[in-house]
Symmetry: C2
Subunit: 467 residues, 2 copies
């Protein structure tokens, strides 16, 4: 149970898609439930009654601020050992060369523990307070991932991957029935995990939605799931009221394959719709090659999109048209999609979203460009909407939960000497606040993320940071 704490200093969050809200000196009170109880935007305001003896946390650096935790809407925890290994492959050759052999190793719980412990710790150190994880087909390893998130206090959606056809013999679900049953078993385990946490740091008595770690139904993608499995998973998700995550329209060969497999369906999105997998609780990753009609259906169903720019470039998949999706009114977040993408850092993913948007702009004009503010919005507020958490996290508002990171940037001294511990951001002291944040976005890394909290609980801090 976190103690009542007042955070004091500078606060930055996304007010709208295009605009940061920056309070250079203020304070926020976070209660024992991890919720923001009050916000003061003036340094001289005394704390409200009942808060005078609360613990205070104030960053020590000259260029420090609190920022909402990042929300990674799409990543594959078992693929982290392959980060940086993809050669010149594209989606389908990459799956068979790198991905399936590695994922199959998660039959071993010892291997799973080694990898997953590292992944959860790594993402927390990057300021990722919430992640939507794909695990593997293995129920025990998937449950272990959920347990590790629970123990470390990371907000997470953990999905057992379903794949009952067009998958290698050594790595697949045995049957559609088994695929659904194994998924159900994992949902059950994760629900119990949440109940165990109830009244402590985990649940808050509002059912599954209040659980910090939740199960999520995860068909890998249409080509590797039988219709029976997909329909069963759709029913399972509705029965449990849980979310669904899968991939859509990442690669042109994949899109062609889906067209060939379902000649009677209008398009890729229509396949998922027909299987009962499309709805406002579904997250589709990539969405690069969508037609206008597919976007219309996604908008109508209020289905969510996870944009994974680093992965899309590495695997030469294509460029998702994020501006078009946003203009259509579709909810979009960012995903690191390791190991299609090579970095688990959402700050890197924000940069990649900006870079990819410039490649789109080279073709389609300046309007396509995402600003760094928009990148940050996608990584926080946007991600929260994609995962149905927009009332809980993604920004700093009274009543929202304290999922936050404390950022500290390096100062360039008068003699210019390099301070090894400062990281890579060089602040000269004359920059406007927006420029300070821009420098963080473009040149920052985990060294600048000094401390991380989820729901008021400290889940990561760097050595030497005093809190």
């Amino acid at each position: 149970m976190p103690e009542k704490t007042i955070y004091t200093g500078a606060f930055v969050h996304c007010k709208t898609l295009k605009e940061l809200e920056i309070c250079a000196s203020g304070s926020m009170g976070v209660d024992e439930a991890g919720k923001i109880a009050f916000i003061s935007t003036s340094p001289s305001t005394p704390p409200p009654p009942g808060w005078t003896t609360a613990k205070t946390i104030r960053p020590r650096g000259r260029h420090a601020f609190f920022f909402p935790g990042f929300i990674d809407t799409h990543t594959h925890a078992p693929q982290f050992p392959n980060a940086g290994l993809f050669g010149s492959t594209t989606l389908l050759s990459w799956l068979s060369t790198y991905t399936f052999p590695t994922e199959s190793r998660f039959a071993s719980l010892a291997f799973a523990r080694r990898v997953y412990a590292r992944v959860v710790a790594r993402l927390l150190s990057h300021g990722t307070t919430c992640a939507a994880y794909y695990a593997t087909v293995h129920v025990p390893a998937t449950n272990l991932l959920a347990e590790l998130c629970h123990e470390r206090g990371q907000r997470a959606f953990v999905g057992r991957v379903c794949m009952d056809r067009m998958s290698p013999d050594y790595y697949r679900d045995e049957s559609a029935v088994q695929a659904v049953e194994d998924s159900r078993a994992s949902l059950e385990f994760i629900r119990e995990l949440g109940r165990r946490g109830q009244g402590e740091r985990q649940g808050d008595g509002q059912g599954l939605e209040g659980h910090l770690v939740q199960g999520i139904v995860t068909p890998r993608f249409a080509p590797s799931c039988s219709e029976e499995a997909m329909r069963g998973l759709g029913e399972l998700a509705r029965e449990w009221g849980v979310r669904v995550q899968t991939h859509v329209s990442e690669n042109r060969d994949e899109v062609g394959m889906v067209r060939g497999m379902w000649p009677d369906r209008r398009d890729y999105v229509d396949v998922y719709d027909e299987m009962g997998l499309l709805g406002d609780r579904t997250v589709l990753a990539h969405a690069i090659w969508l037609s206008e009609e597919e976007r219309r259906v996604i908008k109508e169903r209020r289905t969510k999109i996870s944009h994974c720019p680093c992965s899309n470039t590495c695997l030469t998949s294509g460029t998702a048209k994020v501006r078009t999706l946003l203009d259509d009114g579709i909810d979009v977040g960012l995903g690191t999609d390791v190991s299609g993408g090579y970095s688990g850092s959402m700050l890197e993913e924000v940069r990649q979203a900006i870079l990819v948007s410039r490649h789109v702009a080279m073709e389609e004009g300046d309007k396509a460009k995402l600003s760094f503010e928009e990148g940050l919005w996608l990584a926080t507020r946007g991600g929260a909407k994609v995962l149905g958490l927009e009332d809980r996290v993604g920004g700093f508002e009274v009543g929202m939960e304290w999922d936050a990171q404390m950022i500290d940037l390096g100062s360039v001294s008068e003699d210019g000497a390099l301070e090894e511990d400062d990281g890579l951001v060089d602040v000269y002291g004359e920059e406007k606040w927006n420029d300070v944040v821009a420098k963080w976005v473009y040149t920052g890394d985990d060294r600048n993320t000094q401390a991380v909290w989820v729901k008021g609980r400290l889940v990561h801090s760097r050595t030497g940071v005093q809190l």
Copy 2:
């Protein structure tokens, strides 16, 4: 004067454009002049006569290797305070909004010292043992940058920027004559700096070519230089036998402007050719929008290209066709081009080159893709050719100079716990050597660069590294 030293352990360098050469256990002897005197590819070979008492340096990590220092063929030292600040601008608006105001501040030597000391230290910490720097129009600040490179032992080409027209009143050369005279003054200062170093760490008695820090003639780009200035600078470069660096064909508006300014010249490259600025000692940055004819002339003149992928994407300039340039037989290196690019790290630039090549591949097919090995080649051997240093640096060969970095990557322990000091590379211990290097390229940063040497002299090491 460095002492005779034997480096022992694993060595990695680029054998060809496409192939790494990896010696998992060997040793190299580096003599007092900083040259590689012998290479042994077997751990059991005893050192040659005269080397039995030499100092030995062996990295301590399990996943450590020596790699050639990086060569940054194009960056702007005075623009580092703007790293990450470019908003949605493109080349011409970026120059007037961000670049000229900042560069004009280098009239102050105190400001110049603060920035340049940080830049040189920062690039060394990234393993950049050689950089081709643009400075500003100011002679004293340019000379100071050269002095700082000399003191810190970084191999460098330092160029006073010439711009005598189409530049703001507050920041420009007064006249063409003054532009050439100021450039000459800076060349003279830097030559004297080299002579002072003669017999010590700097020169080696072979004229300017042997100087660690050299002047380089630097017309900003055709639009901001009068014909008189450009012709004068061409003559100056020939008289002194020094190199030339400038920009070409970065942005479509710029190309159109050049066409409008020189309606009688065939194209942008032809303008430089006519002004006597094109030759085998000239480095042209960007080269995005070249015609086939321009590539033919560049090939014929043996002119060099600096590819700056991060900058080209950030400023929405376009995508350089590196595969085409290489297939044409043109020498290509990489440049960080801060602050068009936001990172001074050449490892980041290698990644960006790979990413941009995939965007080219989306249009032109798989052949355009650069592998990580090719990225590393561009950052070492390629850069050396671009700067005429291919017989001295860029690889490990007997007779070449010891410009090297010691890389150490993190190991994932059996319990997966995060070791803060390890940096971001996760090596599980089962990877093949090529995969270990790939992980460094995609997920490494300055934390993995434990120590850096130029011409045998230790120029950077991280705290706690024992050498």
